[in-house]
């Protein structure tokens, strides 16, 4: 009895520690983002929302010296690039990844198995290797580095993520539903539209959201193929860090976190509605 109690107690403590380990740093960042101390953010000086206003380009009482961002324009430009890239890559990789998953599920062509294994490769290859490989490829192909190369480069591995999410959804799908649809007079296209796709949608949405979030915060691979003209949000933040950690970074981090959280919640909500 008491051993059981001890075990339970241990389990609770372990769980608490586990969550603390994961969430405490995030909580600290959130707290610091409201700290008015411009020099040492570990020391609490008072509550302020200035860092947020400052990042968003509003005039506050914070002195110029405490900031890195010379102009909010730079930050917003990086954000805009990231969003354009994320939307494009999400669209492309969702369409291609879903099509690929469907093809491999539907048709048993020669080499389908090899193809399936190959789809896991971009996730297994270290980012840095993939980044270098892409860079060498683009340079040799004589392509000008920029938003275009970032989109193509990110798609190479985002397709894999979408493929895997959609494939797992397909694997759980009941093949006899397609038979039933055909039996009732629907041709392949109608069957796809009315039976397969609605069932597949949660998987497709899940894959798309995953692709969007990964695209938004990919640093390593994007860094290699971004060239000199284009800056994405992660690259911009990374560059800021090289000049020391300043409080406004906390505000940016909290905003990104909130955004990711909203996107993920939307995903979960859509998924629960589909059930």
């Amino acid at each position: 009895m008491s051993l059981n109690w001890l075990f339970r107690g241990g389990l609770v403590a372990y769980t608490a520690l586990f969550f603390a380990f994961i969430y405490l740093p995030l909580a600290l960042i959130a707290v610091y983002s409201f700290n008015s101390n411009p020099v040492n953010m570990m020391t609490w000086e008072g509550f302020t929302t200035d860092w947020y206003w400052q990042v968003l380009g509003f005039k506050t009482t914070v002195s110029e010296a405490a900031m890195y961002i010379e102009s909010t324009g730079q930050l917003l430009a990086a954000l805009r690039n990231s969003i354009v890239i994320a939307f494009s890559t999400t669209l492309i990789s969702t369409v291609l990844g879903t099509a690929l998953a469907l093809a491999l599920y539907r048709y048993d062509f020669l080499g389908a198995r090899t193809y399936r294994v190959l789809m896991f490769m971009p996730m297994l290859v270290p980012d840095i290797v993939l980044g270098i490989a892409l860079l060498i490829f683009f340079v040799n192909a004589g392509v000008h580095l920029g938003i275009g190369t970032i989109i193509i480069g990110q798609c190479t591995f985002l397709i894999s993520y979408v493929f895997i999410v959609v494939s797992s959804r397909l694997a759980g799908m009941d093949r006899s539903l397609e038979h039933a649809s055909a039996d009732l007079g629907a041709n392949e296209w109608v069957t796809f539209r009315k039976v397969v796709l609605p069932q597949l949608m949660p998987g497709v949405m899940g894959g798309a959201l995953l692709a969007f979030i990964i695209s938004m915060d990919d640093l390593v691979i994007t860094y290699f193929i971004a060239g000199t003209d284009v800056t994405t949000l992660p690259i911009f933040i990374f560059a800021m860090l090289r000049r020391g950690i300043k409080p406004e970074i906390n505000a940016i981090a909290v905003m990104m976190l909130t955004f990711s959280f909203l996107v993920a919640s939307l995903g979960l909500y859509l998924r629960s509605r589909q059930k």
């Binding site: 038979h179 039933a180 009732l184």
Partner: protein, 364 residues
């Protein structure tokens, strides 16, 4: 030809078995389904019933042979163009659609306008006893209700033929029995042919106009239930259908000589047969006697007598240890009482009435 809705000729289908060999799921099948007929495909699991049904539905592509439906060659026609609907073994209801959408699916893909669709869906649901459930999702229904939705969905577009793959096997006993009757009534009401798959002989015997018994992808016999029961074509059919009192042996000048030295007298018409054979004497074909006379008979000891309302069932044993079942009418009360107290009797049979089948080894 005009009275056949489906004609299969020389249908073959071979699957590669996981062990690397071949499975003949359909082995040279010739089958006619008549108009307005309730035809049952009966056989043990794995004998090819589903494959046969799906080749009519168009989901299995035949390796050889042809299939025509309502006079038109359908051998290479895809499922969605065949005038046939199926009730699948697992129902295969669309989980993301309401009952109404499920049932209306066949009409919707044919472009029937919404109002007409709603009427027909309502009528079909009433027909299967599910009126008022239109808005529910399949997962909000019981197994029996899902079954009815599957049925309504398959009949709403009035197919020329309805295929049913073990539709009752997932239901419990009571429900199953009432569904058997309902299905039979529905078939009469709709006036279309049903091809019904089951591995349950009772179900087959009660519901069917004709039964096709399958084994290893071959049709063993196709006939009316009574005919199958009274005159099974071979020992497999006899034992699968649950016929009692089978005698295996070799035919020798008008008798069947069994392995333990017992013999059975055969009717004159059967005396030409040669070789190994199996004879059937049904329980009600015996009559009880206690005299040794010239009539053909078997001396037995009586193990047990059971009163079954309309009569009696006697469990008897021959000298060679062969177990036999005898059924006696209530009018034979006195003879039964004597057999029970003596614990012995002589079972009289009429040799000419014995059903004789070539071959042996009924228990597969």
């Amino acid at each position: 030809m005009q009275d056949a809705i489906v004609e299969l000729a020389g249908a073959r289908k071979v699957f590669a078995s996981p062990e690397g060999g071949e499975v003949k799921a359909l082995d040279n099948i010739y089958l006619d389904v008549r108009r307005n007929e309730f035809l049952t495909l009966l056989g043990p699991s794995g004998c090819g019933k589903t494959t046969l049904l799906q080749s009519i539905g168009g989901f299995v592509r035949l390796d050889a042979g042809t299939i025509s439906i309502d006079g038109a060659d359908m051998t290479r026609v895809p499922p969605h163009l065949r005038p046939v609907n199926t009730v699948f073994q697992n129902y295969a209801l669309f989980p993301h659609m309401s009952v109404e959408q499920n049932v209306g699916y066949a009409l919707e893909v044919r472009g029937i306008p919404a109002r007409e669709r709603r009427e027909k869906v309502g009528a079909a649901l009433v027909m299967v006893g599910l009126g008022g459930m239109e808005k529910r999702r399949p997962n909000q229904l019981s197994g029996g209700q899902q079954q009815r939705v599957a049925l309504a969905r398959a009949i709403v577009a009035r197919p020329k033929l309805l295929l049913l793959d073990e539709p009752l096997s997932a239901l419990d006993r009571g429900l199953r029995h009432s569904m058997q009757i309902e299905l039979k009534n529905l078939q009469n009401e709709l006036g279309i042919s049903f091809v019904f798959v089951t591995h349950d002989k009772e179900e087959a015997l009660t519901m069917s106009d004709r039964i096709a018994v399958l084994k290893h992808g071959r049709i063993q016999q196709i006939a009316a239930p009574r005919e199958i029961y009274d005159r099974p074509a071979n020992p497999f059919v006899a034992s699968f259908i649950g016929v009692s009192n089978m005698f295996e042996g070799s035919i020798d000048s008008g008798s069947l000589v069994m392995d333990r030295g017992e013999t059975l007298q055969l009717g004159r018409t059967l005396q030409d047969c040669k070789g190994r054979a199996t004879a059937v004497i049904r329980p009600e074909q015996f009559s009880l006697s206690f005299e040794q006379d010239t009539r053909a008979g078997i001396d037995v000891t009586i193990d047990q007598v059971i009163f079954v309302g309309a009569g009696f069932e006697l469990y008897a044993r021959t000298r060679g240890g062969r177990e036999l079942v005898v059924s006696a009418p209530a009018s034979a009360r006195d003879d039964v009482a004597r057999a029970e107290s003596d614990r012995r009797a002589r079972l009289i049979y009429v040799p000419a009435n014995i059903h004789l089948m070539p071959g042996e080894g009924g228990s597969q």
